[in-house]
């Protein structure tokens, strides 16, 4: 087998991956950077981010205030040293994107405009109408085309990290176009594969968000951190789960129940619609449980009312929300309220890294939603994630380039043997397998139904035990998968099966960590443990892969300047 030699292999071509790639070639000109993605980079799910990207840009704002908002939003589970680095570097990243051509929305004087966002105490969210992620991604992708030393492997699916002598030395990857498994050797590998929202049925996430990088690291012995914290976005369209951006509330939209009441006055009167997502999602669920929601073909919902904002504001600031509501809900928000309910949106947890993207496996790095630094703790504030992709994507790229310069070149022959092993595994497990009657699509639906039913906004020990049982059953069933498709060329049933392997590992980590954390904090609301317990759980959970499900360990949370306090708004 031929092994392609590289200095740095980046897995994933969204905001974090592209930013890491550009940072790496700028930090080490001439270095051989490979950008490997299972989709063309501009298809990455960064494209669907709508509302904006947070950074201190205005004179009425300060780094301390951004850090404090982030720490409070995290329910004091963010690493405060990392948060301080994050808020300090975010403004420079947004300016850099501006200089690369990002079409930020502007104030009349030509400066970058900012809007209000949930949990942010001042306006600090830069935006490009309500297609911020789309513009950010295309700006990064188009800028990356300048750099000819970035070698792209588009539609190449990484299935395994090549680890030898305690160091990550490359990846094995399936070329979807011709079905060949190839090896890519590297002195450093950066995982930037985004989130895993597809382990749930109702999610804003695209089909590609299957936790691939998380599962790759997990299976290589790197722990996943804080996986129990799954963010529900309070305003997704029922049925499809399509995101109605928080910017709709940032621009002044209301959430109302069936009585027409802005019910958040009963939950978070000081912040109302600009409260953080975990609190708002619980409020909506509570309205539903109390019978104050409306009932539609896709279940109960509340309403996001923008009609008082007027057509001009909606067209200027929220044109995509209007387009999506019209196309997918048959509603023009200029005239009618939009039906919404909480849907899975974001994983606070991910691959355990330090503030430079390093994992505990030498040679392996992670950034973006795949990673958990953690700056988000138990609940991420809206518009911090795009900035996180930029800041920590750049940091991981720079750090990996530095370390790669000192690392020895991997021995290609032994990597070839590892990659060949992986090729044989795909053949024996899927392409040449006889027997088995499980369908990928149906097992995936069962997984999603379990997560939806038992690992939602509210959890109990009992519901989580039920989920853990189901997942163990799915682990057995996945061994019985039988593919209709045995072709080499663009076999998307094979990639779907590989994604399902990843989803199942990630789901087990989520449930294992959620069971171990016997408290309620941020996005984890345990009905059987309704209060925050700093004595036992002011710690990060670490899920290690083990036989029969994850083994959970814990690590400390660095506190610099904001001692834990009651989370009040």
């Amino acid at each position: 087998m031929e092994i392609s030699p590289h200095d740095i292999v980046i897995v994933g071509g969204g905001a974090a991956g592209l930013r890491a790639a550009i940072a790496a070639v700028e930090a080490a000109p001439g270095s051989r950077v490979a950008l490997v993605s299972k989709v063309y980079p501009m298809r990455s799910h960064t494209v669907a981010a709508e509302g904006g990207s947070a950074a201190v840009l205005g004179a009425d704002d300060s780094l301390d205030l951004h850090a404090e908002d982030t720490v409070r939003g995290s329910d004091w589970l963010a690493d405060q040293d990392s948060v301080e680095a994050f808020v300090a570097e975010a403004p420079g990243e947004l300016v850099r994107l501006e200089r690369w051509g990002c079409p930020w929305s502007r104030e009349p004087d030509g400066s970058i405009a900012v809007r209000a966002f949930g949990g942010m105490s001042v306006k600090r969210t830069a935006f490009a109408a309500d297609k911020t992620g789309f513009h950010l991604l295309h700006t990064l992708f188009q800028t990356s085309l300048r750099h000819e030393t970035i070698a792209r492997y588009d539609e190449v699916f990484v299935t395994r990290l090549l680890v030898e002598d305690g160091r990550c030395r490359g990846v094995a990857a399936l070329d979807v176009r011709d079905g060949r498994v190839r090896g890519l050797a590297a002195r450093a590998v950066i995982l930037c594969t985004g989130g895993a929202g597809r382990i749930y049925r109702s999610t804003t996430n695209g089909a590609i968000n299957t936790g691939d990088g998380m599962a790759l690291a997990y299976r290589a012995g790197v722990p996943l951190k804080d996986m129990e914290f799954v963010q529900y976005h309070p305003t997704g369209l029922p049925g499809s789960g399509i995101l109605m951006t928080e910017a709709a509330r940032g621009e002044g939209g209301y959430l109302v129940n069936r009585e027409g009441q802005r019910f958040l006055e009963d939950y978070i009167p000081e912040k109302m619609e600009l409260g953080p997502r975990d609190i708002l999602s619980r409020a909506v669920m509570n309205e539903i449980e109390q019978g104050r929601a409306l009932e539609g073909p896709h279940g109960p919902y509340v309403q996001l009312d923008l009609s008082h904002l007027g057509e001009e504001t909606i067209e200027q600031r929220l044109p995509f929300v209007r387009e999506l509501a019209r196309d997918y809900a048959g509603i023009d928000p200029v005239r009618e309220p939009i039906p919404v309910h909480p849907v899975v949106h974001y994983m606070m947890g991910g691959v355990d890294t330090d503030a430079w993207g390093r994992t505990r496996l030498p040679g392996l790095y992670a950034a973006g939603e795949t990673a958990c630094v953690s700056i988000n703790g138990a609940n991420r504030l809206g518009s911090n994630s795009l900035s996180e992709c930029l800041v920590f994507g750049a940091r991981a790229g720079v750090q990996a380039a530095r370390d790669a310069a000192e690392a020895e070149a991997p021995p290609p022959s032994r990597l070839a043997a590892l990659a060949e092993d992986e090729g044989r595994r795909l053949h024996s497990t899927y392409l040449e397998k006889e027997g088995g009657r499980e369908r990928v699509g149906l097992l995936r639906r069962d997984l999603q139904a379990t997560m939806e039913a038992h690992v939602g906004v509210f959890r109990t020990g009992e519901s989580l035990e039920a989920a853990a049982r189901d997942l163990r059953g799915f682990k057995e069933r996945i061994g019985g998968l039988s593919l209709d498709d045995r072709d080499s060329t663009f076999n998307t049933e094979l990639t779907a099966a590989l994604e399902l392997e990843n989803m199942l590992d990630v789901a087990q980590a989520v449930v294992g960590a959620a069971l171990a954390r016997c408290e309620s904090r941020g996005a984890q609301a345990r009905r059987d443990h309704p209060v925050r317990d700093d004595v036992r759980f002011a710690r990060h959970s670490l899920a290690f892969a083990a036989d029969g499900g994850p083994r959970i360990d814990w690590s400390g949370v660095p506190i610099t300047r904001w001692p834990p306090a009651e989370r009040k708004y």
């Binding site: 989709v39 063309y40 501009m42 298809r43 990455s44 799910h45 494209v47 669907a48 300016v95 501006e98 200089r99 690369w100 051509g101 079409p103 502007r106 104030e107 009349p108 004087d109 030509g110 400066s111 970058i112 297609k131 789309f134 513009h135 295309h138 188009q142 800028t143 085309l145 300048r146 588009d154 176009r177 695209g206 089909a207 590609i208 049925g239 499809s240 399509i242 995101l243 073909p297 995509f320 387009e323 999506l324 196309d327 997918y328 369908r439 990928v440 699509g441 149906l442 995936r444 593919l483 209709d484 498709d485 072709d487 080499s488 060329t489 663009f490 076999n491 998307t492 049933e493 779907a496």
Partner: protein
């Protein structure tokens, strides 16, 4: 209400097994919310896992799921079956591209063309620029905003008879994106792009059919970008006679 069902006639091409494409029929249930993409996913999940197609966001912004639906280039995530009833509905890969497998086309050609038009912000001397963000008024941003909305879905190439006849034509989306940077007040790279757009296979190949703008799901209007680029090139003497292009 009784379950509604509709027939899909889907183009199949499995080069590992047979050298020629064929059509396979599937019947699927649907309701008012079902789009063509949902129907394809139901087929793949429940009955025929071998059907291959690209998709991700299912909200019209990732640009993956373009297909020919009843002969028109469409995003399959935005093509509602209720509007195509009673059917049958034909689903085929995007026209004018080489087919890799089933509904998956080869778009490498576009990626090369995209790089050729230099779709990034070009400054004459970056080292001499003031640090910090450029100023750009809302009016200056409006000048190029529309052309920055391209999602690279390739529908415009499938709608363009010129591209169908001459795959060397640089094509609507690439020109729209070149124009997006040309019109950006922060950019100084217009001369570099003129050298690309001014070739025979650049804007001059366009015969102003205008179908590209008709099918664009994001209202980008590549046809306007092409005409404006032609005018710019003509004024600069890149072509003496305007607007006569090369006829396909």
């Amino acid at each position: 209400m009784a379950e509604r069902r509709i027939e899909l006639h889907v183009s199949r091409y499995r080069p590992d097994r047979a050298p020629t494409p064929y059509v396979e029929s599937y019947e699927v249930p649907y309701d008012d919310d079902t789009v063509v993409l949902d129907a394809l996913n139901a087929i793949k999940d429940e009955t025929d896992g071998s059907l291959s197609f690209r998709w991700s966001c299912r909200m019209g912004v990732c640009g993956s799921c373009g297909m020919m639906v009843n002969g028109e280039p469409r995003l399959s995530c935005a093509a509602f079956l209720r509007d195509l009833a009673p059917g049958p509905v034909t689903v085929a890969p995007l026209r004018y591209f080489p087919v890799v497998r089933d509904l998956v086309v080869d778009m490498e050609d576009f990626l090369e063309k995209l790089r050729e038009v230099r779709p990034w912000l070009i400054r004459e001397d970056e080292a001499r620029d003031e640090p910090g963000a450029h100023r750009q008024t809302p009016a200056q941003a409006d000048a190029y905003r529309q052309f920055s909305m391209c999602i690279n879905c390739m529908l415009c190439y499938s709608a363009c008879p010129v591209y169908g006849q001459d795959p060397e034509f640089i094509g609507p989306a690439a020109i729209a994106l070149a124009h997006r940077y040309d019109m950006d007040s922060r950019d100084q790279g217009r001369d570099e792009r003129r050298a690309v757009l001014g070739r025979d296979v650049g804007v001059w190949a366009c015969t102003f059919v205008g179908e590209c703008s008709e099918v664009c799901p994001k209202n980008v209007d590549p046809a306007a970008a092409i005409q404006r680029s032609k005018l710019d090139l003509a004024m600069r003497g890149w072509r003496a006679v305007w607007p006569l292009g090369r006829r396909p």
